[in-house]
């Protein structure tokens, strides 16, 4: 047994015995995370740190469904026994205030498993000094592009392990290695400023240490830096509804923010994808060509093979050929939403109660238009030419090409979503004009229903952090290199 969380067997046994004595069902979640970070600002090291975090959260359920939770960063048999008692006391105290019964955990099958993901360039693959040199090198390379640039380069490598033990005998352990590097590039001149990011994520240090990783990051960085500089004097796009093209990172944003959250089983009572609390399986939500899938991918930044409730995480076809198929469900709300459990529960840390959420979500279309370039080498004119060849460029109005994802937000109950890009290009048959980024907002189902084409093969490494329920967990995904979304009055590009 090589996983660090394997060392806590005695503590888990003590907690289970105490839970049994108190007449409660326990789910014990142990987390052990090592995280090393390096920050370099304008070529100088600003941060170098290592964090070793371990702790345990215990959720208990009484016979009549009262739930309580207690957590601590002390993982000893005595501490876990105390936590079981504390959680049980809170659960019973809540009974006086009319709580919602918590059901479902008793219906899942016990599982004993260990999934250790070995990565070629893990935490100790390169020395600290070399690691710092690599990150500083990326920062300095970026600064050399233009003297008007200020650059913060941040690199993080994480070795995270979890162990889930339940009263039914379940005992699963798994690891979730990941690494990411991000270049935050600010261009400033004559009172104008613009910030554009470039990033690369994966499961190990190859994002900064392998020749392939460095080349990709360098290409992305150069592109981002040039965009930031060009944005300094760029006009704003006129607000309104347009035919738009989004890159795969924005497509991930669309799939994650605009759709994935609405497909999570815990919000089915209010979600636009629910009706009377049940998932609207079988209903058409997009054109035949559209498919949306979520699931863990080996080598991915957001990889998680087993849920925080100890259930294997499935790859789920949420939408197949435009029709809703399955929800992302955990053990607690699957039955209520009338969907099967897919092992979607995730938690940020041992302090948090898991909720259903995505891992790697991707949105793809059938028969995409071909493009013979790597994503990093695609220029706006390539996108325009591709649209022109397919007859998708418009004479009467520009097509807006939105490049680079800068985050988003959604209200699954209302179906409203927003996200922002790094830059907008107005594409017309005769011209390409760079404009300031503006928010892309609209109604989820309108956006999905308006996807008319894809360009290029799927790319699935768009990295992000999902903030649902105040918890921050790694997320990722993507789609075809580009998606074409037709003009729709319910989808707006903000601006003046």
């Amino acid at each position: 047994m090589s996983l660090r969380v394997g060392a806590y067997t005695e503590a888990c046994r003590a907690a289970c015995e105490r839970a049994e004595a108190l007449g409660v069902y326990a789910v014990i979640r142990l987390q052990d995370k090592i995280e090393r970070a390096i920050g370099v600002v304008n070529g100088r090291t600003d941060l170098k740190s290592v964090e070793e975090v371990s702790g345990v959260g215990i959720q208990v359920f009484t016979e009549n469904g009262l739930a309580g939770f207690a957590s601590s960063d002390i993982v000893t048999p005595g501490s876990l026994v105390d936590l079981v008692e504390s959680a049980a006391r809170l659960a019973r105290e809540s009974g006086a205030y009319g709580p919602e019964p918590a059901k479902g955990i008793e219906r899942v099958r016990p599982l004993v498993a260990q999934m250790e993901r070995a990565v070629p360039m893990g935490m100790d693959a390169i020395g600290h000094a070399e690691e710092e040199e690599l990150v500083a090198g990326i920062c300095k390379m970026t600064m050399e592009i233009d003297s008007r640039l200020a650059v913060r380069t941040f690199y993080r490598i994480v070795d995270e392990e979890w162990r889930i033990v339940r009263s039914d005998g379940t005992d699963v352990m798994f690891s979730m290695p990941r690494a990411a590097v991000m270049n935050m590039i600010t261009a400033r001149s004559d009172g104008h400023a613009a910030t554009v990011n470039a990033s690369l994520a994966g499961d190990d240090a190859s994002v900064v240490a392998s020749p392939e990783g460095r080349l990709r990051l360098e290409k992305r960085t150069v592109k981002a830096a040039r965009t930031a500089l060009a944005l300094l004097g760029a006009p704003r796009a006129r607000g309104g509804s347009y035919r738009i093209v989004i890159d795969y990172a924005l497509a991930k944003g669309l799939a994650h923010e605009a759709f994935g959250h609405a497909a999570e089983s815990d919000c089915m009572e209010t979600s636009i994808l629910g009706r009377e609390g049940k998932f609207r399986a079988g209903e058409r939500v997009a054109a035949d060509i559209v498919t949306i899938v979520d699931g863990p991918l080996e080598g991915d930044y957001a990889y998680q093979p087993i849920s925080a409730n100890g259930v294997p995480r499935e790859t789920v076809e949420i939408v197949k050929n435009g029709v809703l198929v399955r929800a992302l469900a955990d053990v607690f709300s699957a039955r209520q939403a009338s969907v099967p459990v897919t092992g979607a529960g995730r938690a940020e840390s041992f302090r948090h109660v898991p909720v259903p959420r995505m891992s790697n979500i991707r949105i793809t279309v059938d028969d995409p238009l071909p493009i013979d370039l790597a994503f990093e080498d695609v220029a706006p004119q390539d996108v325009r030419d591709c649209l022109a060849r397919a007859g998708l460029l418009l004479e009467r109005a520009p097509v807006l090409y939105l490049s680079g994802y800068k985050g988003g937000q959604v209200n699954p109950a209302k179906g409203d979503f927003v996200f922002n890009c790094s830059a907008i290009y107005e594409l017309t048959p005769t011209d390409i004009r760079l404009c300031q980024p503006a928010i892309f907002s609209g109604k989820v189902l309108s956006a999905l229903g308006s996807i008319i084409a894809g360009i290029g093969r799927p790319i699935l490494d768009a990295m992000g952090t999902c903030g649902k329920s105040g918890q921050r967990v790694p997320s990722s995904g993507g789609g075809n290199m580009f998606l074409v979304v037709d003009e729709n009055e319910e989808i707006t590009i903000g601006g003046v």
């Binding site: 600002v41 739930a67 809170l90 710092e132 910030t195 607000g239 109950a413 922002n420 903000g494």
Partner: protein, 435 residues
């Protein structure tokens, strides 16, 4: 003696060979309860109790390199190994490699024993506060309620090799609610009274949610927009905090340069100021001294519309050759952390609302975190912009508002108004509205 104190004492002994060090260690205990989609507790928001030691240590080694380490409950038991680990990651950061001289911390009241009793004993008041919120929301016609209430009690030690050793208790209380997934409110404090009379605040939110349930149409164009104090908090947190942060100013990642601060450049309207005060008695973001040993206090960041100083910790104070300032506490809205925007002749928020005509009241925006803070441009979705006509709520419309926050703080027709519940004002301004 708490684990935090024990850990701090052990670290102080072990680091006697270093050129200098400073540390902060806290033993934190908390309890909270939540409600999602009208469901109290349940699987996703069960009552929670948590205990943890958190903190960090900063070490200057004899060779001038520095290390940063994290402190938790296990630090004490693995100290020689942890120090070796931190040493192995030492790096050169000459501006950071110095400590504040010994200064007496500011005496600020931060502790209510009645809140500590809730955390360590009877959690009933937390459940009852939750019931108050739910009841008030239902009485106001809410269909869907989400809410959370919690308390914490913390013992903190801040120490430096310069001789500082401060140990103090503090308590925190937080309540938040959202009605019909449209409008929400928050209350933060440190005393038991924070849990009192929640119904009044929830009713204010409820009235906004009710107004949002009636949909009306709005034409696109430039028009008056009223940002509630809650939304102004998010504008300050996103646009102002980024550009006033010393690290961003010093490194050219702020819209303002260090020279502009030195020259006192005019950046806002002449009557607009921005202050930081981290020594407000029982203020949610108040403290005795920073983790670097800088006493809590008050500083003007923008005065009379002119830049005065960025927010500076020790490192960036040295790099900027300016005095360090109090630093706002993290993880809370800037106003509660002590950062307040003020203007001359501020009206009352209630009066401003009553006098509004053909304006959009904005209490919730989507996508703030996606905006570029350096240029001040905003383009934000407002799912429920409330149309105000002749001082009355006429319904709500989905709109996108766009403009430049820094230009708005410079415009003569921008009005500021304080409400009794919020540390920062609401703002009435003109910007573009796309419906």
């Amino acid at each position: 003696m708490s684990v935090a104190v024990e850990t701090a004492e052990a670290l102080a002994r072990r680091l006697s060979d270093a050129r200098g060090w400073r540390l902060v260690a806290s033993s934190v205990y908390s309890v909270d309860v939540g409600m999602d989609d009208n469901k109290l507790c349940g699987s996703y928001r069960p009552p929670r109790a948590a205990s943890e030691v958190t903190g960090g240590v900063f070490i200057i080694w004899q060779d001038g390199t520095v290390s940063r380490g994290r402190i938790d409950s296990k630090t004490l038991s693995r100290l020689p190994r942890d120090i070796e680990l931190w040493r192995s990651l030492a790096y050169r950061d000459d501006d950071a490699a110095h400590l504040a001289g010994l200064m007496p911390p500011t005496q600020v009241e931060l502790f209510d024993p009645r809140v500590a009793d809730i955390v360590t004993g009877d959690a009933g008041p937390v459940f009852r506060a939750m019931s108050q919120i739910a009841e008030a929301a239902r009485e106001g016609g809410a269909d869907m309620i989400d809410a959370g209430v919690g308390c914490s009690a913390t013992e903190t030690v801040i120490a430096t090799s310069s001789g500082l050793w401060v140990k103090y208790p503090e308590t925190s209380v937080w309540c938040s609610w959202s009605i019909d997934k449209t409008m929400s409110g928050v209350r933060l404090g440190r005393d038991r009274e924070t849990l009192a009379d929640l119904a009044r605040s929830v009713r204010v939110t409820g009235r906004l949610a009710q107004a949002a349930s009636v949909r009306v149409k709005v034409d696109s164009g430039d028009m008056r927009v009223m940002l509630t104090p809650r939304v102004v908090e998010s504008f300050i947190g996103h646009f102002i905090m980024h550009n006033m942060a010393g690290e961003n100013v010093a490194e050219g990642r702020s819209r303002y340069s260090l020279e502009q601060f030195r020259e006192g450049a005019r950046v806002f309207r002449g009557d607009v100021s921005l202050m930081i005060n981290t020594a407000v008695p029982m203020g949610p973001g108040s403290y005795l001294c920073t983790s670097e040993g800088i006493p809590s206090g008050r500083a003007a960041l923008v005065e009379g519309g002119q830049l005065a100083t960025p927010i500076l910790n020790m490192k960036y104070a040295k790099r900027c050759q300016m005095a360090p300032t109090p630093v706002p506490a993290g993880e809370m809205p800037p106003g509660h952390a002590g950062l307040t925007l003020r203007a001359g002749n501020m009206e009352s928020w209630t009066q401003l609302l009553c006098s509004a005509d053909d304006a959009i009241l904005v209490d919730n925006v989507l996508g703030m975190h996606t905006q570029d803070p350096t240029n001040g441009n905003f383009s934000l979705a407002v799912p429920d912009g409330i149309v105000v006509r002749a001082g009355q709520f006429a319904g709500a419309a989905k709109v996108v508002i766009s403009g430049n926050f820094f230009k708005i703080l410079n415009q003569v027709d921008t009005r500021f108004a304080m409400s009794e519940d919020d540390p920062n004002p609401g703002i009435e301004l003109t910007c573009h509205v796309e419906s």
